[in-house]
């Protein structure tokens, strides 16, 4: 009787310890597996919603919290099971899931807003580029910055392609790069055009005088509109004929010196009619360029140093044939198709008034 009692007495602390440990093991802090899985799933969903692009900070914070949770979990698992505490793991994984869900929502909202914003920007850019191509690209002075403008157009296309691929961030970057260039070139071209149209009121006056002259004298008057590439023939104050014309490649602006390939602007008259081999271009109507105004302006430009002192003003500006090419190819003359010059030639005489203006339409009608 004595021996079993002694055995039990010896083993009892171990048995008690065993049961205590067992109870502790059963009741110990449970690892937050569900919370971790929820965090994982939420982060995957956030990634699928492109939160890494459109809700960068939230997504980054979510993954950081998740990584901390996993790190803590691993560290706790290294400890003796009785001393493991998963509170921080749980806290971080819950935080990660919460942040990831917020990142998903923010990403969806941001990408939607960005989509709208970039689309607006792309549409505005397209409108500007189309306008430039339609109205400003024909300005000779644009040549100086056309390369830059083309680069802007290329970036615009890249922006549109990125937009079509739903890469709104890239689309925005490209659109902004394009906008920067296009706005500059647009502004430069628009300024050139606006400066050119500063003379519009004078052109209007010349035009009215030309029409009135034809009315008062029952005669013909020729009006050349450089911008629209048209030549109008008036008789007795009424428009009788309209012809297409070709000009010099540097057509915009007044003629400043010989060889500048520009067509003069002002009031002139026909001083000679050339045919039967006297003209290289079928038939020609020579005008009295340079007139007094041209000579005065040329002298003033020389004095101001705008024209080099050894330059000459040039002469032999004609309305001639061989035109109708749809191109600005002359040295500054006004070229009509041979059929049209025949008609014009037959109606005009030496002394017929020729008025050359930049445009008959105001700028706001041209820039629609």
């Amino acid at each position: 009787m004595k021996r079993p009692f002694k055995k039990i007495l010896i083993l009892s602390p171990f048995i008690i310890l065993f049961f205590v440990v067992l109870i502790l093991f059963i009741t110990k802090d449970k690892p937050p597996v569900e919370e971790i899985k929820d965090a994982q799933q939420s982060i995957s969903q956030a990634k699928a919603a492109h939160a890494d692009k459109y809700a960068k900070n939230l997504f980054k914070n979510a993954t950081t919290s998740y990584n901390i949770a996993i790190k803590f979990w691993k560290e706790e698992n290294e400890r003796f099971f009785l001393f493991r505490d998963f509170d921080l793991v749980k806290e971080q994984s819950i935080k990660a899931a919460k942040l990831a869900k917020a990142a998903t929502a923010e990403s969806q909202s941001n990408s939607k807003n960005l989509n709208r914003e970039v689309k607006r920007e792309i549409d505005a850019l397209k409108e500007k580029i189309d306008f430039f191509d339609r109205n400003l690209d024909q300005i000779p002075q644009v040549e100086a910055f056309r390369k830059k403008h083309n680069k802007g157009k290329l970036l615009f296309r890249e922006a549109r392609l990125a937009f079509e691929k739903s890469d709104f961030n890239l689309a925005k970057i490209k659109a902004e790069q394009s906008k920067k260039i296009i706005n500059t070139t647009y502004f430069q071209a628009e300024t050139i055009l606006k400066n050119y149209f500063n003379n519009y009121s004078e052109w209007q006056r010349w035009f009215k005088n030309a029409v009135n002259y034809s009315k008062e004298n029952n005669t013909y008057s020729i009006v050349v509109d450089k911008f629209s590439r048209k030549c109008y023939l008036y008789y007795d104050g009424n428009l009788k004929e309209t012809f297409d014309i070709d000009l010099g490649s540097n057509w915009m602006g007044d003629k400043n010196q010989q060889g500048d390939k520009s067509t003069p602007e002002g009031n002139y008259k026909i001083v000679d009619k050339k045919e039967n081999g006297r003209s290289r271009y079928h038939k020609a109507l020579l005008i009295n360029y340079p007139n007094e105004d041209d000579l005065r302006r040329f002298a003033e430009n020389k004095r101001k140093g705008l024209v080099s002192s050894n330059r000459r003003l040039g002469n032999l500006i004609e309305i001639h044939g061989d035109g109708g090419k749809g191109a600005d190819w002359t040295e500054g003359c006004i070229a009509l198709s041979n059929r049209d010059i025949d008609r014009l030639y037959s109606k005009c005489t030496v002394g017929t008034r020729v008025t050359i203006v930049g445009s008959l339409k105001p700028l706001n009608e041209i820039i629609k």
Partner: protein, 198 residues
């Protein structure tokens, strides 16, 4: 007596060992999987096959979670996790292969687009000679000429960029250049057609 006491102590030690876990964490498999994922990342799987790469990372995360969860269990076996990790390695190889395939696909597409650009530019140059000295004037003709020059420069830039940046970005640039070249081509054709009808 002494022997029995030692026996009891050993039994307790064994019990404690059982409590705290007998199976070993598959560290070698974890390391292999991590190396494989890193290799896929080095191959730029996250750039060229982002969805497949995300799925790969998800698989690894599931395996890690499962392993850590097992560490708290009384009787544990990492058999399933080992299988998961082996699968991650295989998946990494697959993702890597897909990345390489996608890169080759993009390279081929870039080269094809560049060839197309060259063909269109050549055609545009020929069309320029047929155009009525420009469609609306020599200024416009010069504008088109300048645009063709920009396209040629840009195409050369795209060619030079191959391999120096993401192939996706290079392809996008090439596509934009091709679009611009095609646009001019259509413009010129329309003008010539109009001119011929006249």
């Amino acid at each position: 007596m002494k022997n029995k006491f030692l026996l009891s102590l050993s039994a307790l030690a064994i019990a404690l060992f059982v409590f705290s876990g007998c199976a070993k964490v598959p560290q070698a498999e974890i390391d292999n999987a991590n190396v494989a994922i890193e290799a896929a990342k080095t191959a730029q799987a996250d750039v060229y096959v982002p969805e497949a790469f995300a799925a790969l990372q998800d698989s690894m995360n599931v395996a890690v979670t499962s392993i850590e969860a097992k560490k708290s269990k009384l009787f544990k076996s990492y058999k399933n996790e080992k299988a998961q990790l082996i699968n991650v390695v295989a998946l990494s190889e697959d993702v890597k292969a897909k990345t390489e395939a996608r890169i080759n696909e993009l390279k081929a597409e870039i080269q094809q687009t560049l060839t197309d650009i060259t063909t269109i530019v050549e055609e545009n140059k020929t069309l320029m000679t047929q155009a009525p000295r420009g469609k609306g004037g020599s200024t416009v003709l010069m504008a088109i000429k300048a645009e063709i020059a920009t396209i040629e420069t840009s195409a050369a830039e795209v060619q030079a960029a191959v391999g120096t940046e993401s192939f996706i970005a290079t392809l996008d640039k090439a596509k934009a250049v091709k679009e611009q070249a095609t646009n001019i081509n259509n413009e010129l054709k329309a003008v010539i057609e109009k001119y011929t009808k006249k």
